[in-house]
């Protein structure tokens, strides 16, 4: 490793492992199968009673035996360690372990361990843990606060735990860019490999903000759907005229990124290549995108530039599409970018089935984009009954579509006006 900058272009980065924990299922194939079948992971909130809050629906990771796609936490985190970690770390560990084991990468030498890094982020981190600790302090029991409170809540601690578990001694980092976290983690980790800082990076995001503070906070910001409390499966409806806010989801998506020659040399299974990455800032408003989503436009444009391809080569777009008013602004930006090529592209929002996984959304959806390429199938946009506006872009309403997909683009945008786009290609 340790290539010089002029050699950067020669270091291609591929995905050799995947792990998913989503409201649809635990496991990559289980999640994907349910997504393609048009199933939803969204229901009434069950981990606490949401009656006092405006929003009653969310996407929660289903409990159950691992073999059946459910979450059995003790299969991933030893029981005695569980209370030292917030749920976002639990979910992140479950996805990271899947990804590392899927990749088959087990560095034996010190050199290989030092060339393997981790960059797993979260949008919010240990919100429930912070809430609980606040109650302890507020009740005059500050001296009883667990010594594990801080390491349980810190966002970069998934990266820490993964490195400790596997002995990965390379770059240990964490992206925190609200709902763009997952894409930034994969994109930045890809660049660390391209620059020679590592040969292998474990990258992605995790989130577990389906808790009273998370639901109340996003409700106050008028961001959540509140009109479908009695029909949760209909609440997430990107681009539909009746959409009224996003549905919060929890989970984690983590990939193993690897320098192409390194992966080839060890005969690793390769899902696809990260060929483009673009970033931008809106410089406009803390929660609302700018007119025409010009920040999204520039992020996508920059991703195309770094990939060295034109929009005509993109077959599928996994939209940010959160089921809010901003959906149509993203549509504007994609139409403008693609021009006449817009009629050939499929674009869907898988948040219609998973809800919005915030800091995990980008990495989960990057994986959906890779699986779309692998199986030549575009996952559906559920509940798109009456598009708020027409478009020449096929938004894959209701049912998955078999179609030739070789290159896909995945978008993620976050509060603060941060935008990131990733382009992936099959090999």
């Amino acid at each position: 490793m340790m290539a010089n900058l002029s050699a950067m272009k020669e270091r291609r980065v591929v995905v050799t492992g995947m792990g998913l924990v989503t409201p649809l299922a635990v496991g990559v194939e289980q999640t994907w199968k349910r997504l393609i079948a048009g199933q939803t992971g969204i229901g009434r909130i069950s981990c606490f009673d949401p009656s006092d809050l405006p929003a009653h629906v969310a996407g929660e990771v289903p409990e159950g035996p691992t073999a059946e796609g459910g979450l059995t936490l003790s299969d991933w985190v030893p029981t005695k360690d569980q209370k030292k970690m917030d749920r976002f770390i639990h979910l992140g560990m479950a996805a990271a372990i899947q990804a590392v084991e899927d990749s088959g990468w087990k560095p034996e030498s010190e050199e290989d361990r030092c060339a393997t890094g981790v960059m797993i982020g979260s949008g919010i981190g240990g919100l429930q843990t912070i809430y609980d600790a606040s109650l302890t302090v507020a009740s005059g029991k500050a001296r009883r606060l667990s010594p594990f409170f801080i390491p349980s809540a810190l966002i970069n601690l998934i990266s820490g735990h993964v490195s400790i578990r596997y002995g990965f001694k390379g770059p240990n980092h964490s992206a925190v860019t609200a709902c763009a976290t997952g894409v930034h983690a994969i994109g930045d980790a890809t660049r660390l490999i391209m620059l020679g800082d590592a040969d292998v990076m474990i990258a992605g995001g995790a989130e577990a903000a389906v808790c009273p503070l998370g639901i109340a906070g996003f409700s106050s910001a008028r961001a959540l759907s509140t009109g479908f409390n009695d029909t949760p499966e209909k609440a997430s409806r990107p681009w539909d005229r009746d959409r009224d806010g996003f549905v919060m989801g929890e989970g984690s998506g983590i990939v193993v990124l690897e320098e192409y020659e390194h992966a080839k040399a060890r005969g690793a299974k390769i899902y696809g290549e990260i060929i483009g990455y673009g970033l931008s800032g809106d410089a406009h408003h803390i929660t609302a995108p700018a007119e025409g989503h010009e920040g999204a436009f520039r992020a996508m444009q920059s991703a195309l530039r770094s990939a060295g391809i034109t929009p005509a080569e993109i077959d599928y777009v996994n939209a940010h599409g959160t089921s809010t008013m901003a959906d149509d602004l993203e549509l504007d930006a994609v139409e403008r970018l693609f021009g006449d090529d817009a009629r050939h592209v499929a674009m869907s929002s898988t948040k219609s089935a998973t809800g919005h996984l915030l800091g995990a959304a980008g990495s989960v959806e990057a994986m959906f984009s890779m699986l779309a390429i692998r199986d030549n199938v575009a996952p559906p946009t559920l509940n798109l009954d009456n598009p708020a506006r027409e478009s020449v872009i096929d938004r894959v309403a209701h049912e998955a579509q078999q179609r030739k997909i070789s290159v896909a683009l995945s978008n993620s945008f976050g509060f603060g006006g941060t935008n990131a786009s990733l382009i992936v290609r099959g090999l």
Partner: protein, 79 residues
Amino acid sequence: MSEIADKVKKIVVEHLGVEESKVTPDASFIDDLGADSLDTVELVMAFEEAFSVEIPEDAAEKIATVKDAIDYIEKQKAA
């Protein structure tokens, strides 16, 4: 075994996730029972809570084994 010793043992089993048979009087929290420095801080807090005693930091630092904990708490309770 005293009631205090019994209760200490139970807390150690619960917090460190170790088998009861391993929690012998001479067992060191760190060397024998797999605890790290943060685990021991939490253990001391659990003892304080369970026995309604104050264990100052300098005393806590000297509690390395199961027996150390039992002796300290018994002394506090007897005082």
